[in-house]
Symmetry: C2
Subunit: 285 residues, 2 copies
């Protein structure tokens, strides 16, 4: 079964939660953290407990590489070991690396994140330099075993600066989305979605409806639930046919042990309960 079909199936079985392992050592309970020689070791142990506690109820994990790069070589080792642990648990992994380069350099990024120590299933990519930034990944996509999420429409304050500019009578993000969808047709799975998905944020409901309407076959990675303010009602516009995308929450789950309603639970138990509540919030909206 192709990767995109496996992801689709997991969403149908387990709901839409993408758990973001954007793990800053500062998110860890102090008592836990101080039991380790280094922050990199503490983060790895924390990630493993979170994964053990949630892998049966989340669709996919997204690992944000920036948090690991910030810890230097020890952090990269923790990154590699986190990915290896996820693979051991048969989890699907999105590496949130947002790489964007061309030609031989993009080939190197593809080798870096689709093989070897940093192997993931999906990676996020940034299209600023143009759609030829995507081509070096295609040989991996053609195997059916790998996929991309291309930055399309984000909801940060700066999104209007480039994504929101109007060219050819529509926002740049729609043009990017349409060009991405066209390239993705050749990598469609049985489920109808392509192995080239798109990252789309939660903005206003008019935009989200238009994005979904114009990109019907695109599987979405939707950040911003919880900590960044996205709600299930906005997200609902992106999801259809019971699938359509996954919704990421990172800090909201990783730091849920701090919330009064989880008082007395371990961080791993709190994360599980928080992820279940998020899943149900989206499923039953």
């Amino acid at each position: 079964m192709k990767l995109i079909d496996r992801l689709h199936q997991r969403v149908m079985e387990k709901g839409h939660v993408c758990l973001g392992l954007d793990t800053d050592a500062a998110y860890l309970p102090e008592d836990f953290r101080k039991g380790f020689e280094s922050d990199a070791a503490a983060v790895l142990a924390f990630n493993k407990e979170i994964i053990d506690s949630t892998h049966d109820i989340v669709a996919v994990y997204k690992v944000q590489i920036a948090y690991y790069e910030a810890m230097g070589l020890a952090g990269m080792e923790t990154y590699a070991k986190t990915l290896a642990y996820l693979r051991e648990k048969q989890a699907i992994i999105i590496a949130d690396v947002k790489r964007g380069d061309i030609a031989k350099t993009a080939e190197m990024y593809a080798a870096a994140h689709f093989t070897g120590d940093f192997e993931a299933d999906f990676i996020t990519v940034s299209p600023y330099m143009g759609m030829d930034t995507l081509e070096p990944y295609f040989p991996y996509l053609a195997t059916g075993e790998k996929g991309l999420f291309v930055l399309v429409a984000t909801s940060n304050p700066g999104a209007p600066d480039i994504e929101g500019l109007i060219a050819d009578d529509q926002p740049v993000y729609l043009t990017v989305g349409e060009k991405t969808a066209k390239l993705g047709e050749q990598f469609a799975g049985e489920c109808g979605y392509s192995a080239i998905g798109g990252v789309v944020g939660c903005t206003n409901s008019q935009d989200t409806q238009r994005i979904r309407q114009r990109l019907p076959g695109m599987f979405f990675l939707i950040p911003g639930y919880g900590a960044q303010g996205g709600t299930a009602s906005e997200i609902a516009h992106y999801l259809h046919k019971g699938s359509g995308g996954v919704v990421n929450s990172s800090r909201g789950i990783l730091m849920s042990w701090k919330k009064p309603e989880h008082a007395g639970k371990s961080f791993a138990a709190a994360a599980r309960d928080e992820a279940i509540a998020m899943r149900d919030d989206i499923l039953f909206f």
Copy 2:
């Protein structure tokens, strides 16, 4: 002296060459490569010999992280050691990482590439998500010790897809360039250039003239000399007041030992002669 002033001074003294350490093990002479236990070790030794042989005649080095990520953890160690060796030689380092993210994630990238194991002087960044992707780097820039090169106008085949779209009556890349230049004003050095520079490719001379005219205070990182087909006559439009930018060559220098005119020289001697020829080609155009 601020970083951008030091870079300006080096260009005035040594010319415009930016030597790109985009080192693929396949670029190494076979006899040299097979003397090492691993490609990562061979690349590090190769880089050191190239650096020893060129640091007095090039303005700056650009290290393309993708080539090191592709070698996994061992590659990241070679990356860190290459940067450390450059610092030891008092070289100025551009880390070509093209990171582009927002808020806390961008803070993590800033910490990753401006401190610790992967510390560089300048890093390249991708602005697709908007100008707020740059702000987390500003505290480092404010010290006068760090700088950015923002992707503005590249010359790859896909550049028209986003950069070249016409919005507000001008190409997106000019809007990006102008917004970048405005943010850069607060980080201007004595030399008149800002610590926020721009990456601009060699396209046609009409475009290059317009880019320089509209972005007079921007220091440029110009890729594409040699292997990618840029010529000194196109580059000349970008350079003014004897400075204005640096011109990168990677493969053209690293693999110059294969050229007939360098037959019988070591790879390090060939690289030096090739870099000198490039410097003079640009200086005396």
